[in-house]
Amino acid sequence: MALKAKTSTRIGVTILGWGIALWLFFPIFWMILTSFKSEVQAISTPPKLFFMPTLSSYAEVFERANYWHFALNTVTVSVAATAIAIALAVPAAYSMAFMPSKRTRGTLLWMLSTRMLPPVGVLVPIYILARNTHLLDTCTGLAIVDMLTNLPIIVWMLYTFFREVPAPILEAGRMDGATRWQEMTMVLLPLALPGIASTALLSLILCWNEAFWSLNLTSSHAAPLTAFIASFSSPEGLFFGKLSAASTLAVAPILVFGWISQKQLVRGLTFGAVK
């Protein structure tokens, strides 16, 4: 279609496509740019597009806070929460997709509705429970909470992927004497792997960016990158250079990860949705 379109239309589409992309991306670009400015350059008016880049903001950020400590906590929590949630969700989604009962639909919707509870509604009890079980300010505690908050969405996504796998393929396996376990691990999982991968990707992104629980359930030992950012925000909002450097450090890993995996993410996310 595009090949036959008039040249003027094509130029219009190109300009519009790039214009909107640049506009939406601009805040991120500006954050990265500002992170290489000195504090004086960062608040110059009018804002400078061209300047001598400096690493002074980064140096100060690293001096003030142990970035790697926070980053390691975030990675540990995100990976652990995602792995456990997937391990629990695969059998559940398998059961819903291939052994549906009258209550399957209701169960699924109920699961999703647990996710709609405002976390603040249960902040006090969760805090007290975490404290009494000595899980406050531990990666284990945060991973458990992240796992539980993401589990409903993971079950639902896996369910939509599994439904796309034709039941006869699984039945054929069973006829050949495969047990349920073999059927699940050897027939279903390889077929649904793209879906599982993209579910895991989405879960990783959501865990990485989760702010509410990580700010309220950790203080120092298990504090993740969201807490790292918070420590650079309120008292010195006007130190734009340091703020930008810290922000860039906090989002860079997941941003690059997202760029690399976006095709996979999309493929899985819409696998069930577009058919």
């Binding site: 052994m99 509705s113 069930g272």
Partner: protein, 302 residues
């Protein structure tokens, strides 16, 4: 055939085994979610009926429905409820409306489309605290923000967006985060559309608008349901963006339910009142969930 015969006779027994296996596989997830949703709920219910303030230990004992009474007759509560609904509805409209158009735009071929697409979806990967700080300071700051500089450059007086239009500005920031997610989903849906079908419509003389209205839009139904479902779950509980940018203010102009409860619990140390708010928020979330689920479940099942 033989295999089928071997397996089919004890139909009742097989069905029962299947049922039990299905139940066993499902139960771990159901159980922990049940505990996760019930235990804190009961504790919240319990606290909500108590006089419990962390800074005033003399005040304790059974409060009955006092906490609820204070909350429901508080004008702030109604305001926060309204703000919550406005935020959810506003961001949904912006992100789905915008993403539908953008999906069609980025479906066209043009120079550097791959890079442009990656730029468009990037905000989705940014953590809420960072995007809120970014917009508040680097973009919208009335003196040093880039947008303010742009307005001065064309002779306008910069606006302190977060002070003048707090709710709308928070909505725009949240929409900036969630629009890319909707684009991600809807773009793939548009691309999965049969090229021949579109070509045929074009041959039949359908203009671009007719093609959009009658070919593309109906095709997007299910993808839009997915977006509505996932986004609503997150939008009902927006917290970090408000906390970082306006702290719910000025007054309660940008306070949603989540933030109202937070400010009660952690800023005023009123555990009883906050718990009552939590219970009310949970009830409201469930009402929304019922409506939402009814509306989109049909599409999700298809």
């Amino acid at each position: 055939m033989q295999a089928v015969l071997e397996h089919s006779p004890p139909a009742g027994a097989t069905a029962r085994t299947t049922k039990r296996t299905g139940f066993l596989l499902l139960s771990p997830s159901v159980l922990i979610l049940l505990v996760w949703s019930i235990v804190p709920l009961i504790m919240t219910l319990w606290y909500s009926l108590q006089n419990y303030n962390l800074v005033d230990p003399t005040l304790h004992g059974f409060a009955g429905i006092d906490n609820y009474w204070y909350l429901l007759t508080d004008p702030d509560f109604l305001h926060a409820l309204l703000n919550t609904l406005v935020l959810v509805a506003g961001v949904l409209v912006i992100s789905i409306g915008g993403a539908t158009l953008l999906a069609v735009l980025y479906d066209q071929e043009f120079f550097g489309r791959g890079i442009a697409r990656i730029m468009v979806i990037s905000p989705f990967f940014i953590m809420p605290t960072v995007s809120a700080l970014l917009w508040k300071n680097l973009m919208l700051h009335p003196i040093y923000g880039v947008y303010s500089a742009m307005m001065r450059a064309v002779g306008l007086t910069p606006i302190d967006w977060l002070a003048r239009f707090p709710l709308m500005t928070v909505m725009m920031i949240v929409a900036w985060e969630w629009l890319p997610f909707a684009v991600l989903i809807l773009l793939t849906a548009v691309q999965s559309l049969d090229g021949e079908q579109r070509e045929a419509a074009r041959m039949d003389g359908a203009g671009p608008i007719a093609r959009f209205r009658y070919i593309i839009l109906p095709h997007l139904g299910r993808a839009i349901s997915v977006v509505v479902m996932i986004e609503t779950i997150y939008l009902l509980t927006i917290f970090a963006e408000i906390s970082v940018t306006t702290a719910g203010g000025p007054g309660v102009a940008s306070t949603n339910l989540a933030y109202l409860i937070y400010s009660r619990a952690l800023l005023q140390f009123d555990v009883g009142g906050a718990s009552a708010g939590g219970v009310v928020a949970i009830v409201i979330a469930n009402i929304v969930a019922i409506f939402l689920v009814r509306a989109v479940a049909r599409n999700l099942e298809a």
